[in-house]
């Protein structure tokens, strides 16, 4: 039974990782072949870094992700303070609305926002680009912030805020001295989640970016539509390594925090 379990996990892992492994191996291939490895080279990495389109779209992606997730974090966290003070019924309605962008197919979110932006573009000076992109990203980011921060308010001892006031803090000071440290983990994980979703988003961006502000996923998509280009392999390898490093660091930080809490 134990062996069978191990075999099963091994097979699934192979299924999950082999395709990525193949991409990585062929990113070092001298020829453009996808099946025969004819020699080691770093040529594709060099080409990648000199590919202006990829570099600008990477920059765009970072700008949009940082701006959108920061705004979403502030908007969502502030909203949670208000929502946590509400009664059950309005709270439930708001949480339903919060769930809409999460539950709805991304393509519907994308086209519905596109319809809105087209409507405004025709009547005001709104052009598809960074503004529409960032608005769209905030819209699908902010529910994740709310969903991460709300539970912290629920877990928090409702008297903490009053205790701070009892000990002489005004309302604003009480919030920053006592409530904020309590919800901080939720705010950070909400921000990180929003940031990764923004970095990774293709579908919503595809419908809301226009032609001026292309993000990296959009560029990747355009590249896969064209002929074989091993630069994508190189890009995949880099992204994979970055993801692995980030997750390992994150894991280490969490472990350290756990140890600290346990002693």
């Amino acid at each position: 039974m134990k062996k069978l379990s191990k075999l099963y996990v091994g097979l699934i892992l192979a299924f999950l990782y082999l395709p990525i492994l193949v991409l990585i191996i062929f990113s070092f291939n001298t020829s453009k072949s996808r099946s025969v490895f004819s020699g080691f080279t770093l040529e594709w990495y060099e080409k990648l870094f000199h590919n202006e389109l990829i570099m600008t779209s990477l920059g765009n992606t970072l700008i949009v992700a940082v701006v959108a997730s920061l705004i979403a974090t502030v908007l969502g966290t502030v909203a949670c303070i208000g929502i946590s003070r509400m009664r059950k019924a309005p709270k439930a309605v708001i949480m339903q609305v919060t769930n809409i962008p999460i539950m709805n197919p991304e393509i519907v979110t994308g086209v519905s926002l596109m319809l809105l932006f087209v409507f405004f573009a025709a009547r005001m000076h709104l052009e598809f680009g960074f503004v529409t992109l960032i608005i769209a990203h905030i819209t699908f980011d902010v529910p994740y912030v709310v969903l991460n921060v709300m539970p912290k308010f629920r877990q928090m001892d409702a008297n903490l805020y009053e205790a701070a006031q009892d000990l002489g803090c005004g309302p604003v000071r009480a919030f920053f001295k006592v409530v904020f440290p309590e919800i901080m983990p939720g705010v950070i994980s909400g921000f990180l989640m929003a940031f990764t979703f923004s970095l990774d988003d293709f579908i919503v961006s595809y419908f809301t970016s226009g032609s001026t502000a292309q993000t990296l996923p959009i560029t990747i998509y355009a590249m896969t539509r064209r002929k074989v280009s091993p630069e994508i392999n190189a890009l995949s390898t880099i992204i994979f390594v970055v993801v692995v490093v980030i997750l390992i660091v994150k894991n280490m930080i969490e472990r350290r925090a756990e140890k600290k809490g346990a002693v």
Binding site: E162, A164, L167, G170
Partner: protein, 346 residues
């Protein structure tokens, strides 16, 4: 004597429900006052009004003679020990206790000195650097008390502070709290639903029910002279028997006449008669006006608790001597043991 806190005609409504119904309460300086009552009686609401966490819909609250309606919590010279302590999880013991002094921007040396005094007061020397989550319930309780007292409030509010502790620890903390209150000479306003706790610690007990004050008095008064059947029932165990006040100092219970000490109820008035279980003695049937059959006997350590059924009423009786189950016994009590109350409304 001067009143440090006064509530005058306080009314609080919530969702159309009356939580406090025209409450009037004067609290003397340096007194240990307990607000006692079942859950939902309004005792915590009263405390929150004094603390400044809740504004009454109407009525006046004064502190040292000055009206403090509308004054926010952080401007009142009152501190609170919260029900679940509400210690700040991101701060250690020292930082928790020092919190209020830091907010007031006291010099660091002064803060260290005063926190040190508090640590001594609550016996937590050596725990300064401890994480809050790694303290026992009793230790957390002490930190909460120290954190409030370090600000030298005139009045300390305590909202069921011992509710989360086990019985033994609770008893210890009761004595400890009384000691702290007496040594600091400040006013404690203490909320609890535990009558024993109230009787043990308080100078004055305020019994509340359904948004009304039922009785204010010393523990002895409250226990021995309950003003109505609710108080009698809530404080200790009682036999509450319907009776008729025939005239001053004469009451009829189960068809028999008894001499009592109460007056002023008028003639032939239906009343509630309250008799404490420990005030009843079991005698041979021929020596008593009332007699019945023992239907249960339970050993309680110091005494036996027995139920005697007599004339459709089950009498609860506590005695150091047990009677045999099923035997016929006489029920006897003196005039002083009979407490007459007005019939409860509703």
């Amino acid at each position: 004597m001067e009143h440090i806190v006064s509530l005058k005609d306080i009314v609080v409504n919530f969702d159309g429900e009356q939580i406090l119904n025209h409450i009037n309460l004067d609290i003397k300086d340096k007194e240990f006052v307990t607000l006692l009552g079942p859950s939902g009686c309004g005792k915590t609401t009263t405390l929150r009004i004094i603390g400044g966490f809740l504004e009454p819909d109407s009525g006046v609250i004064t502190f040292e003679g000055k009206k403090i309606n509308g004054l926010p919590a952080y401007k009142r010279n009152v501190n609170t020990v919260f029900q679940r302590y509400a210690l700040f999880p991101h701060l250690n013991v020292y930082e928790n206790i020092a919190f209020g002094l830091h907010v007031k921007k006291l010099p660091e040396r002064e803060i260290r000195k005063r926190v040190g005094e508090m640590l001594d007061l609550v016996n937590l020397r050596g725990y300064e650097k401890r994480n809050i989550s790694r303290l026992s319930g009793g230790q957390q309780q002490r930190v909460a008390i120290a954190r409030a007292l370090v600000n030298r409030p005139k009045v300390l509010l305590l909202d069921e502070p011992l509710g989360a502790l086990d019985l033994k620890l609770r008893k210890e903390m009761q004595i400890e709290l009384k000691r702290i209150q007496q040594s600091l000479e400040i006013t404690f306003i203490y909320v609890t639903h535990d009558q024993e706790e109230a009787l043990t610690m308080s100078d004055t007990v305020v019994v509340m029910n359904q948004g009304n004050i039922q009785q204010i008095g010393t523990p002895v008064d409250i226990y021995n002279e309950p003003e109505n059947a609710f108080v009698a029932d809530f404080i200790g165990e009682s036999n509450i028997i319907p009776g008729i006040m025939l005239k001053d100092c004469l009451v009829e219970i189960s068809g028999r006449e008894f001499v009592c000490v109460d007056k002023g109820f008028g003639n032939n008035t239906p009343v509630d008669v309250v008799i404490r279980p420990e005030d009843i003695t079991l005698v041979p049937t021929e020596d008593a006006k009332l007699s019945g059959v023992v239907t249960s006997v339970t050993f309680k350590g110091v005494h036996y608790e027995m139920v005697v059924e007599a004339y459709d009423y089950q009498w609860l009786i506590q005695s150091t001597r047990s009677a045999e189950l099923g035997s016929a016994v006489g029920i006897s009590f003196g005039p002083d043991d009979i407490h007459i109350m007005h019939k409860m409304k509703g």
